[in-house]
């Protein structure tokens, strides 16, 4: 068998230093300490690689136009809504081990047993995950990943990173993503065995189509309602991650004089933690 195979690990090892090099050369200029307002805004954005990230965002938009949007259109045309729901269910079930391992690593015993129960029920009664029978039996779906585990362990989010195809991420979440997909996901083990690399390509291609098809309406709406789509998406991503890390618990109520500026001269934002991840992780009570 003389088949040319590329391990994703080797690929990553080859590409990462290059990415790091280019990214460093594309750093946003940090405002000087003599301009505290601009400095504060810079730190709130927490996006030191913004010029690089914006070009990655542009590339991603191009990929959507050329590859993913036509694919999604075909996918949605040939498979009706119930079928697509089934596809989403199958992927959720197949990838349940990722949630299970991370439930345990976060010390969430009862959520881990929910995930395990769902996996057993949906893999059997649910016909290999096609039907989410477990949800109707009172075991609702939830999702955990290693980025969230790192956050629960107290790790900060690191710099914001926009990755074509994957979309918004960050130092912490991208590392978590690599661990989930190369260390935990069953496909990583299938791929490592003597199976062709295109299995993984097909798998991630189908997964991306499913994920993007589900997210498209919301992303289109965000694009239409925002002026700077890149900045709005960064904001939504962070807020949504903060909520996932809290496992849906309500955000801590900020103690600030937010909207009480009747004269219109005050800064209604003073005191509010604009980058919610750290504050909300700390406020997690469960």
């Amino acid at each position: 068998m003389s088949r040319y195979t590329v391990s994703p690990h080797r690929l990553l090892r080859a590409v990462l230093p290059l990415v790091a090099l280019v990214a460093l050369s594309a750093c946003a200029d940090k405002p000087p300490a003599s301009n505290p307002e601009a400095l504060r805004a810079y730190e709130e954005r927490n996006d030191p690689l913004e010029p690089w990230n914006r070009s990655m965002h542009q590339i991603d938009q191009g990929l959507n136009t050329v590859i993913f949007n036509p694919t999604i259109a075909v996918y949605q045309a040939i498979i009706p809504e119930p079928g697509r729901k089934g596809v989403t269910n199958v992927f959720r079930n197949f990838r349940a081990p990722i949630t299970f391992v991370n439930d345990i690593l976060q010390g969430e015993g009862s959520r881990a047993s929910t995930t395990l129960g769902r996996f057993v029920i949906n893999s059997t009664v649910g016909l290999l995950g096609l039907f989410d029978v477990a949800a109707r039996m009172g075991l609702p779906y939830h999702y955990e990943d290693f980025g969230q585990t790192f956050a629960v362990w107290g790790m900060g989010e690191g710099p914001y990173l926009y990755v074509p195809i994957l979309g918004p991420s960050g130092g912490r979440d991208l590392t978590g993503y690599a661990i989930d997909n190369m260390g935990i996901d069953a496909m990583a083990w299938i791929g490592r065995a003597d199976n062709p690399f295109w299995w993984q390509i097909a798998y991630f291609g189908a997964l991306a189509t499913d994920t993007k098809s589900n997210a498209k309406p919301l992303l289109d709406e965000l694009k239409a309602s925002s002026v700077d789509h890149y900045a709005a998406l960064r904001s939504v991503y962070r807020q949504n991650r903060a909520k996932e890390i809290r496992n849906g618990a309500p955000a801590p109520v900020p103690d600030f004089e937010d909207y009480e500026y009747e004269d219109g001269d005050g800064d209604p934002f003073s005191g509010l933690e604009i980058n919610p991840t750290e504050a909300q992780t700390a406020a997690r009570t469960d």
């Binding site: 307002e37 805004a41 954005r45 709406e221 239409a224 309602s225 925002s226 002026v227 700077d228 890149y230 900045a231 709005a232 960064r234 904001s235 939504v236 807020q239 949504n240 903060a242 909520k243 996932e244 809290r246 849906g248 309500p250 955000a251 109520v253 900020p254 103690d255 600030f256 004089e257 937010d258 909207y259 009480e260 500026y261 219109g264 001269d265 005050g266 800064d267 209604p268 934002f269 604009i274």
Partner: protein
Amino acid sequence: MRALALTLLLVISGTQANAADEPWRTDPRAFINHFAEAGIEGILTAEIDDTEKTAQFRTLFNDGFDIPAISRFVIGRTWRRTSDADKEAFIALFEDVIVYTWSRRFSEYKGQTIEVRGTTPDGNTGTLVDSVIVDKAGQTISAQWRLRMRDDGLRIVDVIIEGVSMAITYRQDYASVIRQQGGMSGLLDLLGKQVVESAPS
């Protein structure tokens, strides 16, 4: 006929806001229930055309939301340096942006209902109302409403869907534009273009 009656009711409640006559205006739970009902029965399921729905939504939005306060929040520190004319221009454009954004989604309504789950004190005079949007299959989306007490009753200052705050998202979007354009005038230009493009024809 029923739609007309509700329309009249909405117009009246919009122009004659009076906390004493309308006890729901000061009770957070009743306030959200009132607006959910007015939105669903008066707009989403009402037998009126899209132009009329958009107009109704604008009235409801003005009645239920504190648009000037949201505008100040969304612009943040730059507000202090903004001229009165630009402030007015922004508030008007921002109202259009929200009205057209929500109007685009009217047709997606498929019988969802809003269930208020609880309330928590928020800030000095505020309340955070926790609710879920429930669809016909029983799936839920979390929606929180940040309310502030004003002279004529409660007003919504933020809506938080699945942890994503409308006010914070607009704020970070616009902060980025203001920074790149070097001030408010650049933002106003872009918003003006956006409103023209997104206005229902």
